[in-house]
């Protein structure tokens, strides 16, 4: 948790409006991605609505499905990952986020505990693929192997493959919970998300 003790920006959690702010202050850089999730956590992030306008005075979203950048920057203050680690590409992204982000947030139940994607875990991978691509298919049954990342034998929560600093459970975590967590990080504090969200939410 040492990474959390050196926040670069200090702002009150309530984020009062500051007229005339030009964005010259040192903002927290943010990267987000979704792994094996439904994008619902990102939708919940968008549900911050007009509070997003307040937040961007303290945050620079450098890389995300919500912005246009194609490459994860070398250094980022806060990384936010939604979704479980289910295939080789999820694993690569999780490791890249851990390498480049000072604080890594595990956002939502899929990232925190595997959630719905992990419901395949009691079955062997071959049985799962057969079920999805052979048993229920009438035309040219085949398992896709070209251009898609290979599935991992087991779906895993993010913290089982990389170290995670902040956990925000919920399916999805409410927008208020996301706002609370980001506000606490902006203020240089360690958020306790159990105050504002829970498994299943």
């Amino acid at each position: 948790m040492n990474r959390l003790s050196v926040a670069t920006v200090v702002a009150p959690a309530s984020l009062p409006p500051m007229a005339g702010e030009t964005g010259s202050m040192n903002k927290l850089s943010v990267a987000t991605a979704w792994l094996d999730g439904c994008s619902g956590c990102h939708m919940s992030f968008l549900d911050l609505d007009e509070r997003l306008v307040d937040l961007v005075r303290y945050l620079d979203i450098l890389y995300s499905p919500l912005v246009d950048a194609k490459h994860l920057p070398e250094r980022v203050d806060v990384g936010i990952l939604e979704g479980s680690v289910s295939n080789a590409d999820d694993l690569r992204q999780a490791q890249a986020f851990r390498d480049r982000c000072r604080i890594l947030i595990s956002l939502g139940d899929c990232a925190v505990n595997g959630n719905v994607p992990s419901m395949r875990n009691p079955y062997p991978l071959a049985a799962v693929l057969d079920r999805a691509y052979r048993e229920n298919v009438t035309l040219q049954p085949q398992v896709p192997r070209v251009g898609v990342p290979a599935l991992l034998p087991r779906v895993r929560p993010l913290h089982e493959v990389v170290a995670v600093d902040v956990f925000v459970p919920g399916c999805p975590p409410p927008a208020d919970a996301i706002f609370y967590v980001l506000s606490e990080l902006i203020a240089g504090r360690t958020p306790d998300s159990t105050q504002v969200t829970r498994f299943g939410a």
Binding site: S106, D109, V112, N113, G114, N115, V116, S118, M119, N121, P122, Y123, R154, P157, H159, E160, V164, F167, V168, P169, C171, D192, S193, T194, R198, F199, G200, A201
Partner: protein, 243 residues
């Protein structure tokens, strides 16, 4: 109906819980005194109106001068007892117990019919479980949907045995029992037959209402729709006592 009169020969003792001076009847347990005085203490297998099981270990407390921990549900109060219910050690143990329950079977809250009305889910939040630090077992357990009114999902069962006890002690049917050991332990109906084939089940649904999770639910409920009502239990239990 008024509660049965307090037996005249029961002594009153004084004790402290978390530094608070309290008096209680000598035949009361620590958890009963805590509940009467709004001292929060987590529990899963304990339920007012059922016999004491003492298995979930969530209500463990520290007692001054004693080396080991005591289950508050299974420990009677005594004169001069000094009880601590919320120390750092107890919080650590409770969090670990809840995490182990989540890791043992598949409690996927988001798609559970009891989402939002589940005692295990609520305990996870109040015990500070924002993630589970032990690996998930990911074992596969069966469901039993053979009963026309109710459904059993072993994946969400925490083996608190509330269903076993309420069926035996309140309904008097003893349809439920336990089978197997360790992680293979299951609640069963009759001699491990499908619930729908049970000759002893009266279909009263008391087991469903006392189940703390989404293991026993009504048929036809969707995610988050299963709200349980346990008000009947202390009333029926008191009537049985008075008889």
């Amino acid at each position: 109906m008024p509660p049965p009169p307090t037996p005249a020969n029961v002594r009153v003792v004084t004790l402290t819980i978390d530094g608070q001076d309290l008096s209680a009847r000598a035949d009361e347990t620590i958890i009963e005194v805590c509940r009467e005085n709004q001292i929060p203490i987590p529990s899963l297998c304990y339920l007012d109106g059922l016999s004491i099981w003492g298995a979930c270990r969530l209500c463990l407390v520290e007692i001054a001068g004693q080396g080991r921990l005591f289950a508050a549900c299974a420990t009677q109060v005594a004169e001069g007892m000094q009880v601590l219910t919320n120390t750092e050690r107890l919080r650590r143990y409770r969090r670990t117990i809840v995490e182990l329950l989540f890791a043992e079977r598949s409690h996927i809250c988001s798609v559970c019919v009891s989402n939002g009305h589940c005692e295990l889910q609520h305990l996870a939040q109040t015990c500070g479980v924002d993630h589970v630090r032990v690996p998930y077992r990911q074992a596969r357990y069966q469901m039993d949907s053979s009963h026309e009114l109710f459904r059993l999902d072993h994946n969400r069962c925490i083996l608190c045995t509330r269903c076993v006890r309420v069926c035996d002690e309140i309904e008097g049917a003893h349809t439920w029992d336990l089978m197997g050991r360790g992680s293979d332990c299951l609640v069963i109906t009759d001699l491990a037959q499908p619930w729908g084939d049970s000759e002893t089940c009266t279909g009263c649904g008391k087991c469903v209402q006392v189940c703390p999770t989404g293991a026993l639910v009504k048929q036809g409920t969707s995610a988050g729709e299963m709200v349980k009502d346990q008000h009947f239990l202390p009333i029926l239990a008191r009537r049985r006592q008075a008889r």
